[in-house]
Amino acid sequence: MSPILQGVLTIIIGVGGCLAYFYGSNLVLDRVVFPARNDDQGRNIRRATMVRPWLFLLPAILALGLYLVYPVVGSFIRSLYDRSGSNFVGLGNYLEMFQESGFRVAVFNNFLWILFVPAASTFFGLLVAQLTDRLSWGAIAKSLIFMPMAISFVGASLIWKFVYAGDPAIGIINAIGAYFGAAPVDPLQIPFWNNFFIMIIMVWMQTGFAMVILSAALRGIPEETIEAAIIDGANPFQLFFKIKVPQIAGTIAVVWTTITFLTLKVFDIVYTMTGGNFDTDILPSYMMDYMFRDDGRATAVAFVIMVIVTPVMIYNIRQARKDV
């Protein structure tokens, strides 16, 4: 069967099935299980009202439980077994991994990513948001800087390969270098700094996200505070750093953490740019080196990533509990 036909069929079965489930289960609940008949109408309606939320929630709970909750446990258990999956090795995978220089390089690089990417993206996002705030063509400028968000990490990596290429006829950086008489270099092979060249791709993609949200936050600042500051003689820089930034600090924190989480998931850029060579591996790409080869090691890496995000996850859940 051709994939297209299969896809169309899936949509029909999937959507139709979902609709049939929701409609059918509600109908069964109202007509068959707890019919609103005369004798005990009130009690039945009350009981149906108690059950109905769970009918609405069931598919989502099943999918979430299966694809996100179970894997946390499943991955941890799998990480305690060896490559074949039949011998229990306890924390052996972790201990072995911690002693490996490749893993340590990946952890080190990953911390570079977590520090640099959110900081740079938020900085540029805030800069563009502030600069375009009162610009007549600000909307167009923002739209163009936002655009990389729509591009895949693979596509973005290819785009930047054209920037970094060692051949001065392809790579614009080497072309500029050649213009000033420098010998061609491959930026992706310069130790340590190559990490930053790869991170720039991520910054390029995430700045638009930071800009959109911070731009809305800047607009939301009450005008009285700004007017008062201007009357008191604040110059534009004081106005920005002492009046505006403190008022949107909460939003800056949200943007910062969101980009941090994204950074922890992205393996595509490193995979496409260097394949993890030249000491550029980060944890997600390091994990993919072992995927399909050594599931014990792969799940151990995944669990390390999970441990890194856990504190913020707990914080988020606390916040959500407060709101409800």
Partner: protein, 417 residues
Amino acid sequence: MDNLAGQKSSLSVVTNLAVIFLVVIWLVPTVGLLVSSFRERDQISETGWWASLFPVEAAVRMRPSASGASMDGDYGVLRGNLFDGETGSVSAFGLTGRDPGAAQVGETYARYEVTVTEDGELDDERIEIAYPSDEEPQFPETTEDGLPITPGSAILQRSLTVASNGDFTYIDKGEITRAPSIYVVTKQPPDFGLQNYRQILTSDGMDRAFINTLTVTVPATVIPILIAAFAAYALAWMEFPGRGWLVAAVVGLLVVPLQLALVPMLTLHNKLGIGQSFLGIWLAHTGFGLPLAVYLLRNYMIGLPRDIIESAKVDGATDFQVFTRIVLPLSFPALASFAIFQFLWTWNDLLVAKVFLPSGSDSWVMTVKIADDLLGSRGGDWGILAAAAFVSIAVPLLVFFLMQKYLVRGLLAGSVK
């Protein structure tokens, strides 16, 4: 705020310049890719895309027809025009691909057989020289290897003279029966075309990958929306014990790294007989997309006016009717936002496709095709890579520019309380 005091126009000039600078920096990489994707392979390797609007100096091999050759003593002579009636301009030429620009226009390039002395013995060597056409050839005293040449021993083997308009004279020892190979360095006009696109879409299998991507994307976008919408309604407008904890759980699941699910879920898929398949990736994308979907939709639905929903319930509408008739239509902006997110995410995904789809080339999506196949097999073919990348990003870019309003709204709903 525009008319407030303290905003000087000099600052606004600086602001404009700074924004122009940033926008240019942000656009340059993408423009480079787009321009390169339309350029012809030889031109890409000669000049950067930023010079693509100017003529390119490139060496080409030409094979003028041997018909019309005549004999002059022992030598065959072929005269003609390399451009065959069309215009063009030659700056240099040669007889070998190794050194295609060995002689300048106005010179004659010739190959001679000479006698040399090597280790006291006489030997024959070939030398190539270029000299002004209107003068007699001057022979060097030694070959390139430093062997002394016996003066007067040179015998012409082959010679070529090319004028800048393409007129040439080719002389060869013996009769000329086959088309000679002539290398010329010419200025070629900028050459833009669709040849790269034609190649990847017809012979390189990108068309198949495009269809596969579409096949993954559409069900993986539609199904989670439906499931999430019902759940979001329950979490927003239905009273039941444990609701708060469920909302908190969804928020927590938002940040669970996808990597955790790869091994256990693939194992489970294999056990269930789904294996690596399109069905598997649809289910996986549905699961991974749900937390954001539920979170976004619930945040939106809870902001809908309470009056409308309660008056409908008072009028005897069931929750199912309230949901389908009132809440769902009113939530269209949030549904659109999430649909765009999920579409972009599944279209652009590489990780889930690598793990949950079969590894054969039949089921490669575009990201896998580019990252695992084209980058390896066509690593140096920049025009092809650029065209492939652009095919893969064209649809998301279109969606982005058409639906930007909903995208921005969704981002704001997800991040700002």
